[in-house]
């Protein structure tokens, strides 16, 4: 094989909506030299289609393939500038270059090792899959195990570099990169992003036309030569057993990138991509099973975008994140166990068959490594950081909500009989509205880094995000909210009514409810009661629903005990059996739980299996409470008028919520505003509502950035590659088609010297991370 280099791009295929890794051998410009490898997002993991190795997130996938080729012809390489960047500041600077990163530099103010090698961008027609939709980078030789990836999605492309702190790697120095592993390690506090969002220009297109990219592919032979990669030696042993990149799958720092444990990490001894010194390999070998002989197989619960795993997948061993969190951090204990080299975690080998006997064991891994859990932590951390727009939004809400809930409790305590305007449904509705708002605010603000797409497979994204929202909004309010809801239900008498009905049904429940199938015995009922008790301990509506599903499964199992002949047991038999179990459990609080789920779960999830069984429980409660239940000649199960009205109102309201939620989304946007004034610079995410003039936004900027003379400052946006004054009539929705990479808007002195700014952002003089901290 020719010694060669691989440049790569991770993109999203616009027609199949799947992510793919496009790799190109730079020595050969022909389209045929482009290899596309679909990325499978299954069972909470990312994997190349033809590979057996899967990774908990996209970053680690790319990191791994920078080190080991596995199914690729060669390991991937990062653009040199990124590989060479030795500090957070430098990466931050790159991230602010946006599309300009790919331009050849005219003024080389950096050392020869820095930005010298501009990448080549090949363009392919957008939204075609067959044509090679490749944008590849061409950089000088230089190896790195740093992680970079470029993600572009749809027509609204964004480009990201991620240089995650969890990569504890040795950086290869330029001299003899293939032979010497210099063990200089570096770490970065935060991952970086480069955003490029020029609408059409970023749609990857082929053929070599430069399109609207600021710079075209250098055609000049001299340039070509300059860009010619330094030949590398091919891997001496393409089938080596050791996959050193496995080290990047180390869990801890990735899960909590900003936590203190990050600081205590020992470097991973990751062998260089090629010709790894033997001793390193040996060291790795001790810990890692060869990927060909996987020792860990992780079969994750395939949630398939549904709110809950199906009943069949559920058993009592299922874990509930929201409950676990209240116990002393099981993960930490797990990982504190003495381990020869705790940094290493082998890539997961995809289980291609059924979940089988590994399922139970894997449940543990699911809860340790699940990307959604990682996402939840990142979001939670962000939500506590008041300096972030998202954090201040969440914290302000929680504070306000606490006050309101305390007021509810105080009212109830002072005069239990007095009419209260607050209802439990009203409280929950308010929470739901905020959850939806915060959810899209987070996505819109772009404050989450690394971005969501790299953390969680597409089909699990919504669920994971929703869970994260529950964690950062509902968890802090759990105890207070529970008390307030209970008090409100006491006031309206609903729990007492149910308690009475439950008592009335105790005797002869089987006959009254018309149970014709098997029901759980006393122990079975006790188990269900425990599920109900657990339900009250968790803040998460999703976990509550999982428990509810377990409850229903227990009922169905017992039904089957009588019907083992394969006779069908339908809803006709299930409903009475479920009602019977609810009566036997005699837990009136179930009413609160059902209401909590009905109000807080996304309406779209209520059509799924969880929704079905939640509906069944609700129906059972109606059945139990129906006034005619005792009289045999009147049909039981009749809904009271009250219940019917309530139901109708509920349905109408929930769908209205969905509608208004969408309108809100269209009518407000988060805008990133870059502020620069002399040495001062900062980026803030601000909210811009429809109807607000750009002047109002400018005023907001003035106060946000503490500008004393607002008249000297103007808002700019990038339009057609140039900075222009933001028109006064501009509206949030216009931003979508105008923002091009980096901060969406800039708030600058009216006499701002743009040439200086350009150099600033390019040369890496802007360290936004620090300037933010200064505030």
């Amino acid at each position: 094989m020719q010694p060669t280099r691989i440049t790569f791009l991770v993109r999203k295929c616009s027609s199949s909506q799947r992510k793919m890794l496009c790799v190109r051998v730079t020595a050969d410009r022909a389209a045929s030299s482009i290899k596309e490898c679909l990325i499978c997002e299954e069972d909470s993991t990312f994997a190349l289609e033809s590979s057996a190795l899967s990774f908990p997130d996209l970053c680690r996938l790319v990191a791994f393939y920078c080190i080991s080729r596995d199914v690729l012809p060669f390991p991937l390489e990062l653009p040199e500038a990124i590989a060479q960047a030795s500090s957070h500041r430098k990466l931050e600077a790159i991230s602010h270059m946006g599309l300009e990163f790919w331009c050849p530099l005219s003024d080389t103010q950096n050392g020869p090792g820095d930005w010298q090698a501009p990448p080549t961008i090949i363009k392919a027609p957008p939204s075609t899959t067959k044509a090679p939709p490749i944008s590849a980078t061409q950089v000088k030789a230089g190896l790195s195990q740093d992680l970079c990836y470029l993600l572009s999605c749809g027509r609204q492309e964004s480009l990201c570099f991620i240089n995650p702190l969890f990569l504890q790697v040795e950086q290869q120095q330029q001299q003899q990169p293939t032979q010497v592993a210099s063990h200089k390690r570096h770490r970065f506090k935060r991952s970086m992003r480069v955003r490029v969002s020029t609408e059409s220009s970023m749609t990857l297109s082929g053929g070599g036309g430069a399109g609207s990219f600021p710079s075209s592919v250098p055609e000049d032979p001299q340039d070509q030569e300059r860009l010619q990669p330094t030949p590398l030696q091919p891997s001496p042993n393409p089938h080596r057993k050791i996959h050193p990149g496995a080290g990047v799958l180390r869990r801890t720092p990735a899960l909590s990138p900003t936590s203190a444990e990050d600081e205590d990490l020992v470097p991973i001894n990751v062998p260089p991509p090629v010709k790894a010194p033997t001793e390193q390999v040996v060291e790795v070998e001790e810990d890692l099973p060869a990927p060909e002989e996987p020792s860990i197989e992780v079969a994750c619960l395939a949630l398939e975008g549904r709110p809950a795993p199906s009943l069949a997948e559920l058993d009592s061993s299922s874990s509930f994140s929201s409950l676990e969190e209240e116990e002393p951090e099981p993960e930490d204990q797990f990982f504190k166990q003495p381990n020869h080299n705790p940094q290493h975690r082998p890539p997961m080998v995809r289980s291609r068959g059924g979940h089988g006997g590994l399922h139970r064991m894997s449940a543990a891994f699911v809860c340790f490594f699940a990307p959604e859990k990682r996402l939840a932590r990142l979001v939670e951390e962000l939500s506590r950081d008041r300096r972030s727009a998202f954090g201040s939004l969440v914290q302000e809400f929680i504070q306000r909500q606490r006050e309101e809930l305390r007021e509810v409790l105080a009212q109830a305590a002072s005069s239990s009989s007095s009419f209260s305007s607050t209802t439990s449904v009203g409280v929950l509705q308010g929470l739901r509205r905020f959850l939806s708002k915060a959810n899209c605010f987070l996505l819109d603000s772009g404050e989450l880094s690394p971005p969501l797409e790299t953390l969680v497979p597409d089909n699990e994204k919504d669920l994971a995000l929703e869970k994260a929202m529950f964690g950062c909004v509902l968890k802090p309010l759990r105890v207070l909210l529970g008390q307030a809801l209970l008090s409100l239900h006491r006031q309206d008498g609903s729990t007492q009514r149910l308690a009475c009905s439950l008592l009335d049904c105790q005797e002869g429940a089987m006959e009254h409810l018309g149970v014709l199938v098997g029901v759980p015995d006393t122990r079975g009922v006790e188990r269900v009661r425990q599920k109900l008790a657990l339900m009250q301990r968790t803040h998460s509506p999703i976990d509550k629903m999982l428990l509810l599903l377990q409850m229903c499964k227990a009922v169905q199992k017992a039904m089957g005990a009588l019907h083992d002949g394969g006779q069908e047991v339908s809803s006709t038999d299930f409903l009475p059996a479920l009602s019977y179990v609810i009566v036997m459990c005699n837990t009136p609080q179930i009413l609160l739980e059902v209401e909590y789920m009905m109000e807080l779960l996304e309406p779209s999830w209520l059509t799924g299996e969880g929704g079905y069984y939640l509906t069944s429980v609700y129906a059972s409660l109606c059945l139990i409470q129906s006034p005619e239940a005792e009289e045999d000649q009147v049909l039981p199960g009749g809904l009271t008028r009250e219940a019917q009205d309530g139901l109708r109102e509920w349905g109408r309201r929930r769908s209205l919520e969905a509608k208004s939620h969408q309108e809100r989304q269209q009518n407000q946007r988060c805008v990133r505003v870059l502020f620069q004034d002399g040495e001062r610079s900062a980026v803030r995410t601000l909210q811009w509502r429809a109807g607000e003039s750009s002047e109002a936004l400018a005023q907001l900027c003035a106060s946000t950035f503490a500008v004393s003379e607002p008249q000297d400052y103007t808002l700019y946006w990038r339009s057609g590659g140039e900075m222009r004054t933001l028109p006064t009539q501009a509206q949030p929705k216009d931003l979508a088609s105008h923002s091009e990479g980096g901060p969406s808007l800039s708030y600058l002195r009216t006499d701002h010297d743009f040439s200086k700014m350009r150099r600033l952002t390019r040369g890496g003089a802007v360290d936004l991370g620090e300037s933010m901290c200064e505030e």
């Binding site: 975008g305 009943l311 339908s570 006709t572 069984y613 109708r648 969408q662 988060c670 929705k733 931003l735």
Partner: protein, 233 residues
């Protein structure tokens, strides 16, 4: 993030409720549909490839089943809600059929009474949910043709008069079930698409209407923001 309206990135989620008297074969019907593997020839002639996956409860204890389909390139997730058929549970109907996109009303061709019950359901559904719900009237147990008590003409005539489609099925012989569900899916998709058009630019939005049509983009947020989501970061 999925943005734009690429034809491939849309998943329809439909809720279908099964209504009908007890013992007409509602549960058998849906079990037959969801648990069988499909590689019938007629499917390929309809240019629809089927991916079947049983997603939930083991064995024959189903009252909720899901099915994933791919119809002319569009992904469809079908959630089928079985209901308790006995008359005494009739009042619970609204809880179950709320937000349904389609309803399958099953009667037993040997049982005149069960057909009357279907008529009652139709009246109720039209009253509660209007004309947008896709109704299918299904005469089950055609394997018992000899004992037929509901005439084909009457049943089909009635179905037409109320804007429903009529089907004859046999869960036992696996007859007519595939067509029933496929037709229903197509009709629900048409309804959903018509609704999208009515909403103008709502092509990529998720549900808004009371009807609960779920048009779930991979990322509704990104879609509604006219592709601006990524760049705002």
């Amino acid at each position: 993030m999925a943005t734009g309206g690429g034809a491939g990135n849309k998943t329809y989620s439909f809720k279908v409720v099964l209504l009908g008297e007890g013992c007409v074969g509602k549960t058998s019907l849906v079990l037959r549909y969801c648990e069988n593997k499909f590689n019938d020839k007629h499917i390929t002639t309809l240019q629809a490839s089927f991916l079947t996956k049983k997603l939930n409860i083991t064995g024959k204890r189903a009252s909720f089943l899901t099915k994933k389909l791919n119809i002319t390139g569009k992904r469809v997730n079908l959630a089928i809600w079985d209901t308790a058929g006995q008359e005494r549970f009739h009042a619970l109907g609204p809880i179950y059929y709320r937000d349904s996109n389609g309803a399958i009303l099953v009667y037993d061709i040997t049982d005149e009474d069960s057909f009357q019950k279907v008529k009652n359901w139709v009246k109720e559904l039209r009253k509660m949910l209007g004309n947008e719900i896709c109704l299918c009237i299904v005469g089950n147990k055609v394997d018992l043709e000899k004992e037929r008590h509901v005439s084909v003409e009457e049943a089909e005539g009635y179905a037409e008069s109320v804007g429903a489609k009529h089907y004859h099925t046999s869960a036992k012989l696996n007859k007519g079930i595939e067509e029933l569900f496929l037709d229903l899916c197509k009709r629900m998709m048409e309804t959903a698409q018509a609704e999208e058009r009515a909403k103008g630019n709502g092509a990529s939005q998720s549900t808004t209407s009371r009807r609960g049509v779920q048009i779930v983009d991979d990322d509704p947020q990104a879609a509604t923001a006219a592709g601006g989501c990524c760049s705002s970061a």
